[in-house]
C-alpha cells in the first residue's frame, strides 16, 4: 500500500532531520573527495595504514544492526512487543560493538602517531569518521530510550519506533559513502 504524501514512513519531522543530515554528510564527503583528488599520494599513503577488512567489519556490524532495527519496527507493527524489544536490544548490542571496535581502532591509529593536525588525510579521517560516530552514539541513545519504554504503561507509538529506526538507518547510509573514501584502494 502506498502512503500519502503527508505521511512518509517514520514521520515528516524525522524525514526532515534525515534529509538535513544527509545534505550535511554529502558536504563532508565532497570535501573529503576534493582533498583526495588534490592529494592522491597523501591519501594513498594514509590508506596504507587502514585495513579494508576492518572497514568490512564496521560495515557488517552496521548493516546487521540496521536489519534488526527494521525487524523491530515490523514486529512492533504486528503488536509483538517482546519480539520488537529483543530486536531493538540486539540492534543496540551491535551498535555498541561498532563503537567499541571503532574506539579500539582509533586508539591503534593514535598509538601509531596518526592524529589530528598531522596531515590532511588524518584530519579528514578523524573528522569524517568522528562525525559519523557522533551520529551512531545519538542513534544508540534514541534506540535505547525507545527499547526501554516498550513495556511501559504508555508505550511509544509505532511512528516513534519507526522514526528512531529511520535515524539509525541514516548511520548505515553515511557509512556506505565513508567506506570507499577511506578504505577502498587499488
Amino acid at each position: 500500500m502506498t502512503r500519502p504524501l503527508t505521511e512518509p514512513p517514520g514521520g515528516v519531522l524525522m524525514w526532515l532531520i534525515v534529509a538535513l543530515e544527509l545534505v550535511t554528510f554529502a558536504m563532508v564527503f565532497t570535501l573529503i573527495g576534493v582533498l583526495r583528488m588534490q592529494q592522491p599520494a597523501l591519501f594513498h599513503a594514509g590508506q596504507a595504514a587502514l585495513s579494508s577488512t576492518v572497514g568490512l567489519v564496521f560495515t557488517l556490524l552496521l548493516i546487521t544492526s540496521g536489519l534488526l532495527a527494521a525487524e523491530a519496527v515490523h514486529a512492533y507493527r504486528l503488536t509483538r512487543t517482546h519480539r520488537a524489544q529483543r530486536f531493538l536490544f540486539a540492534a543496540i548490542a551491535l551498535g555498541l560493538a561498532f563503537v567499541a571496535f571503532k574506539l579500539h581502532d582509533t586508539a591503534g591509529h593514535l598509538a601509531a602517531g596518526h592524529r589530528l593536525g598531522v596531515d590532511d588525510f588524518w584530519d579528514a579521517y578523524f573528522l569524517g569518521t568522528g562525525f559519523h560516530l557522533a551520529h551512531v552514539l545519538v542513534g544508540l541513545v534514541l534506540l535505547s530510550v525507545v527499547a526501554f519504554r516498550l513495556h511501559r504503561a504508555r508505550p511509544p507509538e509505532l511512528e516513534t519506533v519507526a522514526a528512531v529506526a529511520l535515524f539509525w538507518h541514516l548511520c548505515d547510509l553515511a557509512w556506505f559513502f565513508l567506506f570507499p573514501l577511506f578504505f577502498a584502494r587499488a
Binding site: 512518509p8 565532497t30 519507526a162 538507518h169 547510509l173 577502498a184 584502494r185
Partner: protein, 71 residues
C-alpha cells in the same frame, strides 16, 4: 525481503572490499544506500515523490563522489 536485502548488502560489501577500486566501491555504496532506503527505511511503501527525491539524492551523491574518486 528484509533478510534478502541484508544478504544483498553483505554481498555488495564483500564485492566492494574485494574489488579494491574506489569507483566500484562508491557505486556499490550508492546501490546499498538505495537498498536500505527502499527496504529498511520502508520507502517502497512511501509516496512516489518521496521515493523519487530520495533516489535522486542518492544517485546525485554517488555520481559526484564517483567523479571525485576517479580524478
Amino acid at each position: 525481503m528484509r533478510l534478502l536485502t541484508w544478504a544483498a548488502l553483505v554481498g555488495l560489501a564483500g564485492v566492494a572490499v574485494a574489488s579494491g577500486r574506489p569507483f566500484v566501491a562508491v557505486s556499490l555504496g550508492g546501490v546499498k544506500a538505495l537498498l536500505v532506503g527502499f527496504e529498511f527505511m520502508e520507502l517502497r511503501h512511501a509516496h512516489r515523490l518521496h521515493l523519487a527525491l530520495f533516489s535522486a539524492g542518492i544517485v546525485a551523491l554517488t555520481a559526484l563522489l564517483a567523479f571525485l574518486v576517479t580524478r
